[in-house]
């Protein structure tokens, strides 16, 4: 019983290997680039699915947490420390290997902070921000909560857009690669694409395992009771507020981690990553995936992001997205991936 719930994950891993081999045989390895990027966006969506689907809390500011992750690491790892390296603190960091020396494409030598430090700082920052916002804001309900989280998202967007160290409208470029382990580096170089593909999907699988465990734990049961009816759960002695905040923080940390990884993978980040439109996209992906359906969210997140990043929809990218939203919400309000969907489609095709 315990092991059985991991079968689908093994199956997913199998499919991922199959895809990689397929691209190898057909000489289309370049598809892995967008598959890797999509994987990180899936991690954001999975975290949001916990917040919205399982805890039943609307969050229209998820891109804000993604941006906290991405921008924290971008700022810290692009700051050139060459002038400051003689100071005791940085000299110490250098000694224990937490500074990186490198030569840019234009022949300048620079020193920057190890992405490991910025990665950890980014997660901590996102967690702290999520906690301090979550405690007061999660007492709100429905539209009011929606507005509050959207407000948070707008504030983050405006700050990165208006502040010089965040590159204002241009964003931050030239973010270095992130060597997480010897032989495994998160970066955009074509030569390390396959390892990046597996690394990204490793994080997706890790996220899935963590969340599936969470759902089947005490917290998960508490969440389910919460979704059913908050007052009833309260009456049963479930500390609803605490669980809501916990899930909110988890969602934020997932988004921030994804933000860090993709920023190193792309070598940069721009303000559009923190916009309300982006938050809405995450919400939409969770909605079409079926809210409290991690597998559905994973598939839809991959599908929509992959096609969008490949530019398949051209100038109709937003339009296609809007149409998908409307169709799914009208005809499949519980997401596409329900056994009932097939019957539903048949009925629609037959004209009801």
């Amino acid at each position: 019983m315990k092991l059985k719930k991991y079968y689908p994950i093994v199956l997913l891993a199998g499919v991922l290997v199959l895809i990689q081999l397929l691209t190898l045989i057909t000489g289309t390895a370049y598809y892995l680039t967008q598959l890797t990027m999509a994987a990180y966006y899936v991690v954001v969506a999975l975290g949001l699915s916990m917040v919205m689907g399982y805890a039943g809390q609307i969050s229209l500011g998820q891109a804000g947490f993604f941006a906290i992750g991405g921008y924290t690491t971008a700022v810290l790892t692009t700051f050139d420390l060459t002038d400051k390296i003689s100071r005791p603190f940085f000299a110490f960091l250098d000694k224990i290997g937490l500074l990186v020396h490198k030569v840019t494409l234009y022949g300048d030598s620079i020193v920057h902070l190890s992405p490991w430090i910025s990665f950890i700082l980014a997660l901590v920052l996102a967690g702290v921000v999520a906690y301090s916002i979550g405690v007061p804001v999660l007492r709100l309900k429905g539209h009011y909560l929606g507005m509050a989280t959207m407000g948070f998202g707008i504030i983050i967007y405006r700050i990165v857009l208006g502040t010089h160290i965040f590159g204002e409208a241009d964003g931050i470029s030239n973010v270095p690669a992130f060597p997480i382990l010897p032989g495994i580096t998160i970066g955009g170089d074509f030569s390390i694409r396959i390892i990046n593909y597996y690394t990204a999907w490793f994080f997706v699988i890790l996220a899935m395992v963590l969340l599936l465990n969470l759902i089947n734990s005490r917290t998960g049961r508490a969440l389910r009771s919460l979704h059913g009816g908050e007052d009833a759960a309260d009456a049963m002695g479930v500390n609803t507020a605490q669980y809501k905040v916990k899930v909110f923080v988890i969602g934020a940390v997932f988004a921030a981690a994804a933000g860090v990884f993709i920023t190193h993978y792309n070598g940069g980040i721009g303000p559009s990553e923190s916009s309300v439109a982006k938050s809405v996209r995450y919400v939409a992906i969770v909605a079409v995936g079926g809210m409290a359906n991690l597998w559905g969210v994973l598939i839809m997140g991959l599908f929509l992001n992959f096609l969008s990043l490949r530019g398949l929809f051209g100038v109709y990218d937003d339009a296609v997205f809007g149409i998908i939203l409307v169709i799914i919400m009208m005809f499949f309000p519980d997401g596409l991936f329900q056994p009932a969907s097939l019957n539903r489609i048949k009925r629609i095709l037959r004209g009801k």
Partner: protein, 381 residues
């Protein structure tokens, strides 16, 4: 379990359709373009995209590049850097283009500058910021005039008018911020004091509060640096507040739509821009005149809308690539790059391009003229 199986089945189906796309034929010469056709920078991307589609057809009708037809691959980034990066990788590796045109915005260009340099693919950007060509990356070029020339020309004009104290407003876009930076950098050299410099949101619709703040500083002129519609809101709001000081705009004002939207308030605006806007007024001896008139007439008759200098930047980018490709030893990216770098005396819409090892913009200050608005039309100042 049934649900999960269903999900995975769809997953494999989706993936297999995605891989089913076949490869195109190898006869044509592929040129990529990453443009913000939609989204927040569509003022740039839309005319750029229309322009190169039109120009590519003309070039192909005239025999393409030494007999080979060109195939344009235009990707709409909607001004999202992550998309620009994804598309750049696609164009470089998958479509194997000989060169990339764009992106439309400075931010996106900076995000893919190193990528193009690492994978040795010529990039001819349509964005203005100076950082794109400084430091010089051997594969990265740009066509719009440098911001610094625009700033200096504005200040020279102010000097001749006796203006010493100004207020600066700029859109919070890559274009606006870069311009504001240049103004702040060059103001001391021309003895001009910037009393207040602020940016506004690119979607701003009412700037009376900001202009009130500037008006309180007793400035002698206002400079507005942006490409967004607020360019026509600034003059309207100024008149409405009763501010009678002259308004200078950047070369981003080079679109007659903004003049129309500002109506009466547009008259008297002073701004430096390429000569496209006053093509008909130029003497026949001007080396650019033939190109300018040809582009303007072709664009306006085909799309039934006025040509703008933004579209002109893309026109220059494509014609520079094609011109260099005709002269290059082969159509390899490296030979093309060398050919672009050695291109001199090439008349485009933005000016006469003279590329060199150290100058990947190729335009001098003479590529700009000071223009003004008279009775709702552009005129030489």
């Amino acid at each position: 379990m049934k649900r999960i199986l269903l999900t995975l089945l769809t997953f494999t189906l989706i993936m297999s359709t995605a891989f089913a796309n076949g490869q195109g034929e190898e006869e044509t010469v592929k040129i990529g373009a990453i443009l913000a056709v939609t989204g927040g920078a569509s003022f740039l991307g839309a005319p750029e995209s229309k322009t190169i589609e039109m120009l590519a057809e003309q070039i192909n009708a005239d025999g393409g590049i030494n007999g080979r037809q060109i195939e344009l691959i235009i990707k709409d980034s909607a001004a999202n850097p992550e998309k620009a990066i994804s598309f750049a990788k696609q164009l470089i590796e998958e479509d194997k283009v000989i060169a990339i045109i764009g992106p439309s915005t400075s931010g996106e260009t900076m995000q893919i500058k190193d990528l193009c340099e690492s994978y040795k693919t010529p990039l001819v950007s349509c964005a203005a910021a100076e950082d794109i060509v400084n430091p010089v990356a051997s594969y990265v070029f740009k066509t719009p005039q440098k911001d610094s020339y625009v700033a200096e020309l504005i200040f020279q004009t102010m000097n001749s008018m006796g203006i010493t104290k100004i207020g600066v407003v700029a859109a919070n876009s890559g274009f606006g911020n870069a311009g504001k930076g240049q103004l702040e950098k060059y103001a001391p050299q021309y003895g001009i004091e910037i009393a207040l410099a602020e940016t506004y949101d690119r979607a701003a619709t009412d700037l009376t509060a900001l202009l009130t703040k500037i008006n309180a500083e007793d400035v002698q002129a206002v400079v507005n640096w942006s490409i967004v519609p607020a360019q026509s809101i600034v003059p309207k709001n100024m008149k409405q507040l009763g501010m009678d000081v002259p308004l200078f705009q950047s070369h981003g004002f080079g679109n007659i739509q903004y003049v129309i939207a500002a109506g009466e308030a547009a008259n008297g605006i002073i701004f430096p821009a390429g000569r496209l806007l006053v093509a008909d007024e130029l003497p026949d001896s001007n080396p650019q005149k033939a190109t300018l008139v040809a582009y303007k007439n072709a664009y306006e008759s085909r799309y039934n809308e006025p040509a703008s200098t933004f579209g002109g930047h893309a026109y220059d980018a494509l014609s520079i690539i094609v011109e260099a490709a005709k002269k290059a030893d082969s159509l390899s990216r490296e030979d093309l790059r060398n050919a672009i770098e050695s291109l001199t005396g090439f008349p485009g819409t933005g000016g006469v391009f003279n590329y060199s090892k150290d100058d990947h913009n190729g335009l001098g200050m003479d590529s700009l003229a000071i223009l003004t608005v008279k009775d709702g039309a552009f005129a030489l100042y």
